[in-house]
């Protein structure tokens, strides 16, 4: 077949026409698939929430975003209610500590903080056969988990130490995949931090500083014998004493 000659006009024309046509076609396909893509994402999310908080007949809200779950990345907390009662919370967190990078995990807690279930939404950067076992390894044996000390379902972050046994915790890591297992425990910790509102506890550096003012407030009222006789300087007065002082002025 004879090709067009290589004149500037021909080159510009052919390139422009081809890119315009392909661009238009892509625009059309993108608009046609935009809705199904959004639907598929929403469906996957709803199924993930149902899987991690397996309560019959419960509904989840649209999710509240927590700006910083403890590692700088945002998390989403879905409150699951049934008949007006909060039966659990599903938290979608991203941990940076995966072997190959980020992992996205959804953890379900009941109202007391006991882990009801988890769902790994994305661990594609983990090694197949090793870290990629994360979605099933820590489940109960009926759901394909390893069983024994690897089961994270039923543990509670307030009572159990949810880190790998190597680091002194209560969870047995995936054999030969300690880093991925640590990432998973980190995800659970981040999820719990988002739910309990204690995001500083994850980094643990500022945990102590935040606790101090509350204690001194209690000390003020505990120390002094009441608003009338409170001798403490204004900066250390608790609210009750301050209010009484203001009323006396």
């Amino acid at each position: 077949m004879a090709k067009l000659e290589n004149s500037l006009k021909n080159m510009v024309l052919s390139l422009t026409v081809i890119t315009v046509v392909v661009g238009a076609l892509l625009g059309w396909v993108a608009s046609v698939t935009a809705d199904p893509i959004a639907e598929a994402a929403a469906k996957a999310q709803a199924e993930a929430i149902k899987a991690v908080v397996p309560v019959e007949g419960a509904t989840a809200d649209a999710g509240v975003e927590v700006a910083d779950c403890g590692n700088g990345l945002p998390a989403t907390v879905f409150t699951v209610t049934k008949d007006g009662q909060v039966v659990g919370r599903a938290v979608k967190v991203t941990t940076k500590k995966g072997f190959g990078g980020k992992c996205i995990v959804m953890v379900g807690f009941d109202a007391e903080g006991t882990i009801l279930g988890y769902n790994v939404l994305d661990c594609s950067n983990e090694t197949p056969g090793l870290g990629a076992k994360m979605p099933t390894y820590f489940q109960t044996p009926e759901n394909g988990g390893k069983g024994g000390k690897s089961v994270v379902i039923g543990l509670n972050p307030t009572k159990n130490n949810i880190t790998v046994s190597k680091d002194g915790g209560d969870v047995d890591a995936i054999t030969a995949a300690t880093i991925s297992s640590r990432a998973f425990c980190d995800a659970v910790a981040l999820a719990w931090a988002s739910v309990s509102g204690n995001t500083d506890a994850v980094t643990s550096a500022t945990g102590q500083v935040n606790a101090a003012p509350a204690e001194s407030e209690e000390q003020c009222c505990g120390d002094c014998e009441g608003p009338e006789t409170c001798q403490k300087p204004d900066s250390l007065k608790c609210d009750k004493c301050k209010a009484a002082e203001a009323a006396n002025e």
Binding site: M1, A2, N6, N10, V29, I37, S124
Partner: protein
């Protein structure tokens, strides 16, 4: 060559994986399981057929000096369409193949066939070539994936043949990919392309 001959050619004599040794990156990267390999092969086949047909039709209107960017724009367009379609209608496969779908754009097989076959042959012949090479690629990836999955985890397509503990993990990782590919290439060429 007859239409059927072109298809068989892509499957055996010019098998992209074992004979032409093209598209090695996705071959090694997505064959950790048979299903992943097969999905990757099918997605590439769709792009191959579409790109071959379109390039064959417009090759006459493209000046020689700009033929590579023009072909790449067409190929990239089809790959994006395939990716959007997968995200919308088969999200599980999209999640499994991840980054490798956009990498079909730079898969040497697609551009290679466009330059060596599609621009010199009729639209129908190019479509047959796309089917043949695509089938060859899919078959190679499926066989490679099945071998790696069987030797590495004891399962094929998820069906457990023997317990996972007896599998050699190497085959699921990169070194095993190279080793399996080498052995399969040797066997394939010995059997079919003496």
């Amino acid at each position: 060559m007859s239409k059927l001959g072109i298809i068989i050619n892509g499957l055996i004599k010019e098998n992209p994986t074992f004979v032409l040794l093209l598209g090695m990156c996705p071959t090694l990267g997505t064959t950790s399981s048979a299903l992943n390999g097969m999905s990757m092969g099918l997605a590439t086949m769709v792009v191959l057929i579409a790109a071959n047909m379109v390039i064959s039709a417009i090759a006459r209107f493209i000046p020689d000096k700009v033929h590579i960017p023009c072909y790449i724009v067409v190929i990239a367009g089809f790959v994006t369409i395939v990716q959007l379609a997968l995200k919308a209608y088969l999200p599980a496969i999209d999640a499994a193949l991840g980054l490798f779908i956009p990498l079909i754009v730079v898969n040497c097989i697609v551009l290679g066939r466009a330059e060596s076959f599609a621009c010199k042959n009729s639209v129908l012949d190019s479509a047959c070539d796309g089917i043949g090479i695509g089938l060859g690629f899919t078959a190679s990836l499926t066989v490679l994936g099945a071998c790696r999955e069987l030797l590495g985890t004891g399962a094929i397509f998820g069906f457990s043949i023997f317990p996972e503990n007896f599998g050699a993990l190497t085959f699921v990782l990169a070194p095993g990919a190279f080793i399996t590919l080498a052995y399969l290439s040797a066997i394939f060429n010995k059997l079919f392309n003496k």
